[in-house]
Amino acid sequence: MKENTLEKEIISIIADVSGFDPGEITPEAKLADDLEIDSIKAIEIVVAIEKKYKVSVRDEDVPKITTVSETVAVVHKLLNQELATNVRN
């Protein structure tokens, strides 16, 4: 998947959870400070991403996700790993 398509999808997930309009959400936006993402919403976002893309985000990687673009980067990396595994198999 192209990274900008992925970015749009992730922004849509974050918009659903945060209540902000997708147009208000920039890649640089900070989840906690700018988008008012609390503990429950942070869990909701990670669970929604794992469900949609059928991936598993490593627990230790989650605290590193603090902005929209970092969220996109983590998912992008996971999807590429999966692609590489599928190609090898």
Partner: protein
């Protein structure tokens, strides 16, 4: 809305539990025209009181937390000037856990708790400090990283001693109805933070004072509160919530509908299957509700002497196997009342005690309520010898009572079970398949107790206002 004379609101809220009251207050303060419809004759849900023989009894909730400097309840008090009407006292220690071998007191002063811990668990003092400092430092992402952790995983991460872990888990079991190996780390951590580390607050005069003060503040900002008005239906138009029907006959239009009641009732009874996607219906039927509880109320004479701290929540466990306690709650009998919480009211005139139990059926409780009352008093006599000679009044709330007064499914005390598997589905808060519908309170996500549901009420109000602003700016012709 043209062509109808029905009353119309910007938002209607079904249920006046703490979450509904807080949500309504923020919406009314923001200038919205808001209606709250409540089935009971007084507001509060599980946060109510009643008077018998001149003695005030709290029905279920018996203290609250989240009142520290940046706590959610402090914010609500400040935003609505509740201190003008409610005097808050903090009782110390907030909680005491009594096991067969030792006793832990949890004080408002963390260092005092840690110092006390030294007498029984000297090797764990530093660990407790680290645990508390993690809990009190809000970092939302760290809980997302623990979304698969149980509370047991979290305790294992910080502590070594299994007896201590069970003792620290027991108030969490009582306030969340799950043993540590089943409870999500997030909700266990939240209960420990908001009930224990920052708990033990009490509105002087009884818990009803808190609900009443919120209701008055809601009305002060122009909100309308209808009591003794059960809602029979949520009106759905063009895929969106458009209002409610009160008492089967009075339709009310609304821009947004917020349900502060049981999720099953909201979706299955008030909305109806035909508006629900099959996948969601299946999920709803798979979801497990939390256990209910049996609450004993005793009025005590003034000759009764005991050494229990008034206003503290005192937890008794006679063994350390919380998994066993969870299983025994499902087959609770009058002779099987063991682990429990006891609280002597600040005026020492009454006592509230409870133990977790499953619902079974209404007939079971109408047949055995009085036997359970006697069984519970026998249990308390082992803690406070002679108490049975000092009882002026006795009554109890069974799971069936909880169900009747609050319509919580099967008298569930804490909404859905707070397992990791039931952790986070936004469709229970803001269903994607019905626009303008919101759920708030302990059935909408993981968040329980007065601080938890107050936070959800605040957050739901914020969501309603954000979406309203977005739709107003889209529909604006300019």
């Amino acid at each position: 809305m043209s062509g109808t004379d029905r009353p119309s609101y910007d938002a209607v809220i079904i249920g006046s539990g703490i979450s509904g009251l807080v949500c309504g207050s923020y919406l009314a303060k923001a200038g919205l025209k808001v209606l709250i419809a409540e089935q009971h004759h007084q507001p509060g849900g599980y946060c109510t009181s009643f008077v018998r023989r001149g003695i005030t009894f709290d029905a279920a909730a018996h203290s609250f937390g989240g009142y520290r400097e940046n706590g959610i309840i402090r914010k609500v008090f400040n935003d609505f000037r509740l201190n003008d009407n409610v005097a808050v006292t903090r009782y110390d220690p907030t909680d005491v856990v009594v096991s067969p071998d030792s006793e832990i007191s949890l004080w408002s002063d963390l260092e005092r708790t840690i110092a006390d811990l030294g007498s029984s668990f000297p090797d764990e003092q530093d660990n407790f400090r680290k645990f508390a400092s993690f809990l009190l430092k809000p970092d939302p992402q760290s809980f997302a990283g623990m979304r698969r952790w149980t509370f047991k995983d979290l305790l294992d991460h910080y502590f070594r001693n299994d007896k201590l872990k069970s003792m620290l888990s027991f108030p969490i079991f009582g306030n969340g109805a799950l043993p540590p190996a089943r409870m999500s780390a997030f909700i266990g951590a939240k209960i420990f933070t908001e009930f224990i580390l920052d708990g033990g607050y009490y509105p002087e005069g009884g818990m009803q004072r808190l609900s009443n003060a919120l209701a008055e503040s809601f009305q002060h900002f122009g909100g309308e509160l209808l009591l003794s008005c059960p809602v029979s239906k949520i009106i759905i138009k063009n895929g969106g919530a458009a209002g409610i029907v009160i008492g089967g006959k009075m339709p009310v239009s609304a821009g947004s509908v917020v349900s502060n009641c049981d999720a099953r009732q909201t979706f299955l009874r008030m909305i109806g299957k035909k508006h629900l996607p099959l996948e969601f219906m299946n999920k709803l039927h798979r979801m497990q509700p939390s256990l209910s509880m049996f609450v004993l109320y005793l009025g005590l004479d003034q000759e009764f002497e005991n050494t229990l701290h008034a206003g503290s929540n005192i937890w008794y466990l006679s063994h350390y196997d919380l998994e066993k306690m969870y299983r025994s709650a499902a087959r609770r009998s009058p002779s099987l009342i063991d682990e429990c919480m006891v609280r002597i009211s600040p005026d020492r005139k009454s006592l509230l005690a409870f133990t977790n139990t499953s619902f079974r059926n209404r007939a079971f409780w109408s047949d055995s309520k009085s036997k359970f009352i006697d069984g519970f008093i026998a249990r308390l006599s082992r803690i406070m010898p002679g108490i049975s000679q000092h009882i002026l009044y006795k009554d109890a709330a069974t799971p069936s009572t909880m169900d009747r007064y609050t319509s919580n499914y099967r008298g569930a005390a804490y909404g859905w079970e707070s397992t990791t598997a039931q952790l986070a589905d936004p469709d229970f808060r803001r269903p994607s398949f019905i626009r303008h519908l919101y759920l708030t309170g302990h059935w909408s996500t993981q968040g329980l107790g007065i601080p938890g549901v107050a936070y959800l009420g605040y957050d739901t109000a914020t969501s309603v206002l954000k979406r309203r602003k977005a739709s107003l700016s889209q529909s604006s012709p300019e």
